[in-house]
């Protein structure tokens, strides 16, 4: 309860507060549980925007990387060039990639999703290609001997055998994408990062928005792990 606050600097949420200690807490940019309870609403939309960016990027990224992985499995010589290209994409910092795409695709979700998809490629592609390559050749021979066509061998034998590795890649891609999506506000796509950035000195804000991002990463990780157990009842989940 120290100095008076000039009206112009009254922070948002000031007039809804009653307890003078809380006023002080918010004014000093502190960690204020009661402010968090009363203002939690404002994080709902950014949170779902974050979920949207992450979910769409992972879905598109998985489809493309999985297809590339299958392609590299059939045409081995493509593995090197595809790894090289995805590695270079992977090295460019996300903030720079968001900004470099702006003149091409403009501000908004499209730009953010293109960049986020680009970052999933190396992780998922490499795990799909490695997983398929590690399937023992005896098993592939046996399935061919039983009269399976190459397509049946792929879908019924090779892909199921490679699932642990493929899903391990998806787990890594999921937590990575949640983290990178906090920078999507540079592409004008909002998300939890925009909330963090808007009041970066306010402890309550930083803890809630940052905490939600970490919680989302953990939840997605568990979801993929659950998927792994559901898809492979014959096998205990393998750590990422």
């Amino acid at each position: 309860m120290s100095a008076k606050i000039p009206l112009a600097q009254v922070p948002e949420g000031f007039f809804t507060e009653r307890d003078p200690d809380d006023l002080d807490c918010v004014a000093q940019g502190g960690f204020c549980p009661s402010w968090i309870l009363e203002n939690f609403d404002r994080y709902v939309d950014p949170f779902f925007q974050h979920v949207y960016l992450t979910g769409v990027s992972l879905a598109i990224g998985f489809v493309i990387a999985f297809a590339l992985g299958l392609l590299a499995h059939r045409k081995r010589w493509l593995t090197g060039p595809l790894t090289a290209v995805t590695s270079i994409l992977f090295t460019i910092p996300s903030i720079a990639l968001f900004l470099l795409l702006l003149p091409l695709t403009g501000r908004g979700n499209t730009t953010a999703i293109i960049a986020l998809v680009a970052y999933t490629q190396l992780i998922i592609f490499r795990n799909v290609a490695n997983g398929l390559r590690q399937v023992p050749s005896d098993i592939v021979d046996a399935s061919e001997g039983m009269g399976l066509t190459p397509m049946q061998t792929l879908l019924r034998v090779e892909v199921p055998m490679a699932l642990p590795e493929i899903l391990a890649g998806l787990r890594i891609a999921a937590s990575t994408t949640v983290g990178l999506a906090t920078l999507a506000f540079f592409a004008g796509a909002g998300g939890l990062g925009a909330e963090i950035e808007s009041q970066i000195n306010f402890k309550s804000n930083v803890v809630v928005a940052g905490g939600l991002a970490v919680a989302l990463a953990a939840a997605l990780d568990l979801a993929v792990l659950g998927l792994q157990r559901a898809l492979m009842p014959w096998r205990r989940a393998v750590a990422a």
């Binding site: 940019g29 090197g80 060039p81 790894t83 090289a84 590695s87 270079i88 992977f90 090295t91 460019i92 910092p93 996300s94 903030i95 720079a96 990639l97 900004l99 470099l100 702006l102 003149p103 091409l104 403009g106 970052y119 190396l122 992780i123 490499r126 890594i172 937590s175 990575t176 949640v178 983290g179 990178l180 906090t182 920078l183 540079f186 990062g193 963090i196 950035e197 970066i200 000195n201 306010f202 402890k203 930083v206 803890v207 928005a209 940052g210 991002a213 970490v214 990463a217 953990a218 990780d221 990422a240």
Partner: protein
């Protein structure tokens, strides 16, 4: 937007790097080689200090843990935990709770850089074939000689792989240091009102080029420190054939 306008955007961004101009409000001169040089210097200094401290901490611990072959769970899962915490949240947390300035940002970057280096140092040292270590012992090598003459040389490429990943991360993340009052190349990116879209794009180009150069440079170092025997073992068909795509050696996974 037409192709010409897009090319124009990138062209004026390059111009922005070399020639200063009036800011958007028209009050000060922004851009130009002098300002970008200064920002780049601070950017590199911050990155270098952070990376050096992280290497000094993480490499000895990782090698030691790998040598004694214990705490595998800890050494490997530190990378997974590190990945789940967004860098923006980490920097914001430090700004709000610890403080701003060069030392605080450097501390954040050190925390960011440690996990990949530690994990790679651990994995590199512990993956050395036990038979190789046994035969070294059988030849009368002391514990110290086993570490410095057998395990370290074999682990060196993997250790440098971790340093390379962290270096790229640190250089990329130093871009958001201006939130904590450190004037890196993030200044034109974050102060859109002063520098405009052209300044943003110019800084993004410089950051991307520095990161790619850093990655390529450390990739070169990684190849140089790879013992001849390992190169031959990985590549029995001769060095020339795989050189083109071998340009990007194996590395741990973490974009920034």
């Amino acid at each position: 937007m037409t192709e010409l306008a897009i090319i124009g955007d990138f062209f004026s961004a390059f111009e922005f790097i070399f020639e200063s101009r009036e800011s958007r409000a028209g009050t000060v001169q922004v851009g130009g080689l002098e300002e970008f040089g200064q920002l780049t210097l601070t950017h590199l200094a911050l990155s270098f200090v952070s990376l050096a401290v992280a290497v000094a901490i993480a490499v000895p611990i990782g090698i030691y843990l790998g040598h004694i072959g214990r705490f595998q769970f800890l050494a490997v899962s530190i990378s997974n935990v590190g990945r789940a915490v967004p860098v923006l949240a980490l920097i914001a947390f430090f700004i709000a709770f610890v403080g701003i300035g060069f030392a605080n940002v450097a501390l954040v970057l050190v925390l960011l850089a440690i996990p990949p280096i530690l994990t790679n140092a651990y994995v590199g040292t512990s993956q050395v074939d036990p038979d190789t270590v046994d035969s070294a012992r059988g030849m009368g090598f002391s514990e110290r000689q086993v570490l410095t003459r057998i395990e370290l040389p074999i682990a060196l490429p993997t250790i440098f792989g971790g340093i390379r990943t962290s270096a790229v991360n640190v250089v990329a993340t130093a871009t958001i240091a201006p939130y904590a009052n450190v004037e890196t190349l993030g200044i034109p990116i974050i102060n859109f009102n002063v520098y405009g879209g052209t300044g943003q794009l110019a800084a993004a180009i410089v950051v991307a080029l520095i990161t790619l150069a850093c990655d390529a440079g450390l990739g070169g170092v990684q190849r140089v420190v790879t013992p001849k025997g390992l190169k031959l073992a990985a590549n029995p068909g001769g060095a020339a054939k795989r050189r083109l795509f071998g340009l990007i050696p194996r590395r741990s996974v973490q974009p920034s």
